[in-house]
């Protein structure tokens, strides 16, 4: 296990589109363990995506179970995740391990249906909402070379516009 270096914006590698995982071997398990150790070493991150450590495969980890009053499926390792349905929109504040010292407002779907594989390649299906759904969308953006900076909306609007987009 090792804590890996986090790529930080404007590193061009964060723009890279990651490839699906095809082999669920020991090397994958070791890399997932390193990714989790790196997440835990960071400042309170509820998620991390493989490209943030320069690993360009479609793997992410999220765990929002530490937050009060937050619906959650616990600690999740998601391989090749796909969102199959989106519903509702909400503005929320986000920051990123790869973008130090800045937080901003981002619009995300409020509820999603998610298909993914676990670390052994078994199929997973989730209905997610709120903070957990936001975390998945934030991390999945990394797999496509996007950052929350690409989706910023005005800070000045959020109080009035919260949850009214449809």
């Amino acid at each position: 296990m090792a804590v890996l270096d986090i790529l930080t914006y404007p590193d061009d590698r964060l723009r890279q589109v990651s490839e699906p995982v095809e082999r669920f071997d020991a090397a994958l398990q070791a890399r997932i363990d390193d990714l989790e150790e790196t997440r835990l070493a960071g400042p309170g991150a509820v998620g991390i995506a493989a490209p943030q450590v320069g690993w360009f495969q479609r793997v992410l980890i999220i765990d929002v179970s530490g937050r009060r009053k937050t619906k959650s499926h616990g600690h999740l390792i998601l391989v090749n995740p796909e969102i199959t349905e989106w519903d509702g929109f909400a503005i929320g504040r986000e920051g990123c391990l790869s973008v130090p010292d800045y937080t901003g407002n981002v619009v995300r779907a409020e509820r999603i249906k998610l298909d993914a594989l676990d670390r052994d390649g078994n199929a997973l299906h989730f209905d997610m909402e709120g903070f957990e759904a936001r975390a998945v969308q934030h991390e999945m953006d990394h797999l496509d070379g996007l950052l929350f900076l690409d989706r910023l909306v005005s800070r000045r609007q959020d109080l009035f516009r919260r949850k009214v987009y449809k």
Binding site: I48, R93, G95, C96, D101, F131, A135, H138, E139
Partner: protein, 173 residues
């Protein structure tokens, strides 16, 4: 010596203020930090961090032609700079109601006593001239927790002011 300055520029709003001020600074080799630029009433106001190796007198000289041409007031203070140490706000407060004197004072005094450190405050007067409404939005750090601020501001509701205190949940991923 950090060579950072806080520039304050205020004048009657007109197109091109930001472009001319920032171009003059850029051409003089000055680099901007964080800034706040907003129209208040019919004035345009600029507060900006600018770094300059040349010193405040040189900055003033560079800006003087723009200041004279646009009728701006310029103020320059040397500051420490201190970028990259931004506190993350964890509470936002929305207040609105019929405009009357004392709303900002009452809200911020109570909130300060409950541990609020304001990072960003903006207030607007909307409605009509005969029936103005006041809208106040604050973001800050609740050093004694969000609930302490909620409790401190609750009594204002009885005075006809709508107060909404919300935690800002920042997702770090």
């Amino acid at each position: 010596m950090s060579n950072w300055y806080m520039l304050t520029l205020v004048g009657k709003d007109q197109p091109g203020i930001v472009a001319r001020v920032t171009t003059a600074l850029f051409e003089a080799g000055s680099n901007l930090g964080e800034t706040s630029m907003i129209r208040l009433g019919d004035s345009f106001t600029i507060m900006m961090m600018a770094r300059s190796e040349a010193g405040d007198e040189a900055l003033r000289e560079v800006l003087q032609p723009v200041v004279d041409a646009l009728g701006l007031v310029l103020h320059i203070d040397a500051i420490d700079g201190r970028l990259h140490h931004r506190p993350i706000p964890d509470v936002c407060i929305l207040v609105h109601g019929a405009d009357r004197a004392g709303i900002v004072s009452q809200v911020t005094t109570r909130a300060a006593q409950a541990g609020l450190n304001i990072l960003d405050l903006e207030s607007d007067v909307g409605g009509t001239e005969s029936e103005p409404i006041y809208i106040l939005q604050i973001e800050g750090v609740a050093t004694q927790g969000v609930e302490a601020i909620e409790e401190a501001l609750a009594p204002l509701q009885a005075e006809g002011v709508k107060v909404d205190v919300r935690a800002i949940e920042t997702l770090i991923g």
